[in-house]
C-alpha cells in the first residue's frame, strides 16, 4: 500500500487496468502455467534456491541422553550434505531466551499432542532469521522413547513427528539407532533417503574392519590369522564377503553380520580367488580367479553352494574386479584385452562383452576398481593419470567420463547408498587414509585418520537387525 501511494498517476492507472484485465481473464493465467513468474504473497511450499541448500538447525534436547543424540543427529544431517547446518549463536543457552518471545507469538499449527509439546518454546522467526528452513527437536517421552519433530520454520509448524525407541547409551546398537533416527528426520524434511545408518568396511594390516559413516564405532570384523582383502557387501546389508590368503591360494568367505559367523565359498580354495561381488538378489557371488591360464571372471551360486560358471575366457589377458548393475542384468569389470587394464561391461551371463569407459589407446592410463552406483547411472573407478591414481566417474548412459580428484593419489572408490557420496583412499594428507566426498557439493572429509586403511566398501542402508554388529 505504501508503495502504491508513491506511484505516479500513470503507473497507478496502468496497474488498475492490469488488475481489471486479470479479473476479467483469470483463466488465461492458469492456462499459461508460467512457472518462471513468482506469485507474490502466495506460498505453496518450499522455495527452491538453486545452489543454496536449505538451512537446518538441530535444537538442544531435554533429556538424559539427548546431548549425545543431538550431537550425532546434527553431524549426520551435516554429513548428508543436503543442508546448511546452522549453529545457534550463544550455544544452547539461546533456547531458554528464545522461549519467551515464542510463548508470546501465536501458537503455530501443529499435528498431534506430542507436536505441540515439542514445538513449545520454539522461536521460528529467530531460526528463520538465522537462515533455517528446518528445525529438529528431540524430546524425551516415558519408556525410553524420544519424540522427534521436524519443523518447517517458514511455515511455523511441525512438518512431521515420529517416536523412536533408543537403546541405552552403553548399548552397542545405540549409535546405529540414532543414525536411523537421523535418516528418518532427513526423509521427513526432504523426502529422500539418508546415509546415516550405514557402515564402511575396509582393510587395514590384513584385517577387515567396519566403521560408521561418521567415523565412529570402528570395529574389527574378521580376526583370522590369514591376511584379508577386498570386502564387499551384500545388497541387503546382512552379509559381506571377502578374500583371504591361504597357502598361496585365495579363499572367499561370506560372513553374517549379526552372528559374525562365516563360511567358505564352496568352490573356492584350490585357486587364487579374489574380488567377490554379490549379485543384487544375493544368490550369486561373482569373483576373479587367477590360474596359470590367467585371471578370469566366474560366478558361483552361494545359496546352494554350487554351479560354478565361467564368464570370461582370456588366455592372454586378465579379467577381474566384477561389479553388478543394481538391476543385476550387467557386470562391469576390468580387462587387459587391449593392453592396459580398462573398464568393460557384459551381461550377467558373460555374453555381450563391450568396452564401457572409453579411453585413448596408448594415451589413457590403466583403469581399475570399478563400482556401479546404487542408482545404476554411474560407474566409479580409478585411473592412472601421470603415474598416480585418480578417481573417475562414468555416466553409463552417455559414456562421459569425469575426473573427480586431482590432489595426491586417490583410489578404490565405493558408493554410498544415496549415489552421491563416495568413500575412497587418498594420500592427500600425507599418508593413505579413507576419505568421503560429496559429488554434488564437492565437500570432502576424512572418514578415518589412520594410515594404511584401504579397499573401502560402503554398506547399503543397514537393516534393523544388523545394527549392532559389525
Amino acid at each position: 500500500m505504501k508503495a502504491a501511494r508513491r506511484l505516479d498517476g500513470w503507473t497507478a492507472r496502468r496497474a488498475v487496468v492490469l488488475a481489471v484485465l486479470l479479473t476479467v481473464y483469470p483463466s488465461s493465467r492458469l492456462v499459461a502455467q508460467d512457472t518462471s513468474a513468482v506469485d507474490r504473497g502466495v506460498r505453496i511450499g518450499l522455495t527452491y534456491r538453486p545452489g543454496v541448500r536449505p538451512g537446518m538447525v538441530v535444537l538442544p534436547g531435554r533429556g538424559p541422553v539427548l546431548d549425545s543424540v543431538r550431537a550425532i543427529v546434527a553431524r549426520d544431517l551435516d554429513y548428508s550434505d543436503r543442508f546448511e547446518l546452522i549453529t545457534l549463536p550463544g550455544g544452547d543457552s539461546l533456547r531458554a531466551t528464545a522461549m519467551a518471545p515464542a510463548a508470546r507469538s501465536p501458537t503455530p499449527p501443529t499435528r498431534g499432542s506430542g507436536g505441540a509439546a515439542a514445538a513449545a518454546g520454539l522461536n521460528y522467526p529467530l531460526y528463520q532469521a538465522l537462515g533455517a528452513d528446518f528445525a529438529v527437536t528431540l524430546t524425551s517421552a516415558p519408556g525410553d522413547t524420544q519424540v522427534v519433530a521436524v519443523h518447517d520454520v517458514a511455515g511455523g509448524g511441525v512438518r512431521r513427528e515420529f517416536r523412536v525407541h533408543l537403546p541405552p547409551l552403553t548399548d552397542p546398537g545405540f549409535r546405529m539407532a540414532v543414525h536411523r533416527l537421523s535418516d528418518r528426520a532427513l526423509e521427513a524434511a526432504l523426502g529422500v533417503g539418508g546415509i546415516a545408518a550405514t557402515r564402511v568396511l575396509y582393510v587395514m594390516e590384513g584385517k577387515v574392519y567396519a566403521i560408521d559413516q561418521d567415523g565412529a564405532d570402528q570395529r574389527l570384523v574378521s580376526s583370522s590369522d590369514h591376511a584379508a582383502l577386498s570386502p564387499a557387501w551384500a545388497t541387503d546389508g546382512r552379509r559381506f564377503a571377502y578374500m583371504e590368503f591361504w597357502e598361496g591360494h585365495g579363499r572367499l568367505f561370506v560372513q553374517d553380520v549379526a552372528s559374525g559367523k562365516r563360511a567358505g565359498v564352496a568352490t573356492s580354495g584350490q585357486a587364487l580367488d579374489f574380488t567377490p561381488a554379490f549379485s543384487p538378489d544375493g544368490k550369486t557371488l561373482a569373483f576373479s580367479r587367477a590360474t596359470e591360464e590367467g585371471t578370469d571372471l566366474y560366478t558361483v551360486n552361494i545359496k546352494d553352494g554350487c554351479c560354478l560358471q565361467r564368464l570370461t575366457v582370456g588366455r592372454f589377458y586378465d579379467n577381474l574386479s566384477p561389479t553388478y548393475s543394481p538391476d543385476g542384468q550387467r557386470l562391469a569389470f576390468v580387462s587387459t584385452r587391449a593392453g592396459l587394464p580398462q573398464i568393460y561391461a557384459m551381461a550377467a551371463d558373460g555374453t555381450d562383452q563391450q568396452l564401457l569407459a572409453p579411453f585413448d589407446y596408448g594415451a589413457t592410463g590403466s583403469s581399475n576398481a570399478p563400482e556401479w552406483s546404487p542408482d545404476g547411472q554411474s560407474v566409479a573407478f580409478h585411473r592412472d593419470v601421470g603415474g598416480t591414481l585418480q578417481v573417475f566417474v562414468l555416466d553409463v548412459r552417455t559414456r562421459a567420463v569425469r575426473q573427480l580428484t586431482s590432489v595426491g593419489r586417490n583410489e578404490d572408490p565405493t558408493w554410498a547408498p544415496d549415489s552421491r557420496h563416495m568413500a575412497f583412499v587418498s594420500d592427500r594428507s600425507g599418508y593413505r587414509q579413507l576419505w568421503i566426498i560429496d559429488l554434488e557439493t564437492g565437500r570432502i572429509r576424512p572418514l578415518l585418520q589412520k594410515s594404511g586403511a584401504r579397499l573401502p566398501a560402503w554398506s547399503p542402508r543397514l537393516p534393523e537387525t544388523a545394527s549392532s554388529t559389525p
Partner: protein, 205 residues
Amino acid sequence: MKRLSLLLLGGLAVAAVAACGGKQPEPPAPAPGPNADSIAAADKARADSMAAAQAEADRRAREEAERRQRMADSLAAMGRSTEAVKTLLGTMIHFDFDKAIIRGGDAAILDQKVAILQANPGLRIRLSGHCDERGSDEYNLALGNRRATAAKQYLVSHGIDAGRIETASYGEERPLDPGHNEEAWAKNRRDETEILAGGDALKQP
C-alpha cells in the same frame, strides 16, 4: 765243510759224555708246576692279546671316531651343499613395472633353477609373484599371478614337469622393501621360490 762236520761230531761226543756224567749227584730239577714257562707264556700271551685287543679296540675306536668325523664332515659338506643349492634356488627374479616378461639377465637365474630341479627329482617348489605398491591393489594379484606363471612356463619349457611347480600371487601384499621409491619398487617387483617338498638334502647340479 769237512772240518765243520768234524767239529760238530766232536761237540756231540763231548755233550754225550757230559750228559752221562751228570746222572748221579743232582736230581733233575722238579718241574715247576704244570709248566712255569707255559704259564708265563700264557700270561704273556694273555697280556699280549689283551694289549693287542686294547690296541685293536683303540684302533677301532680311532677308526670309528675317524669314520664318525668323516661322516660328520661329509654330512656338513652335504648340508653346506644343500644350503648352497637352497640359496641358489632362492635367487629372485625381477620385473619391469606392470610387466610379467622374464628379463634377459634373469633367464640365467631360471636356468640354475632348471639344473637344480633336474639334479633333485624329489624337489617340488612354489613360485610366487609380487608387485610394487604403485599399481591397483587388486589388479596386482592378477599381475603377480602372471609373473609367477611366466617363470613356471620358462621352467616347464626347459624340461621340468609342470606338476612339480605351483604358482601363487601375493600382489603388493608382501613387500621386501617398505620404501616408497624406485629402489624399493624395483626390489618388490619379483618372483620368489619356495620349497614345498624334497628340500632336506639337495645335490649340486
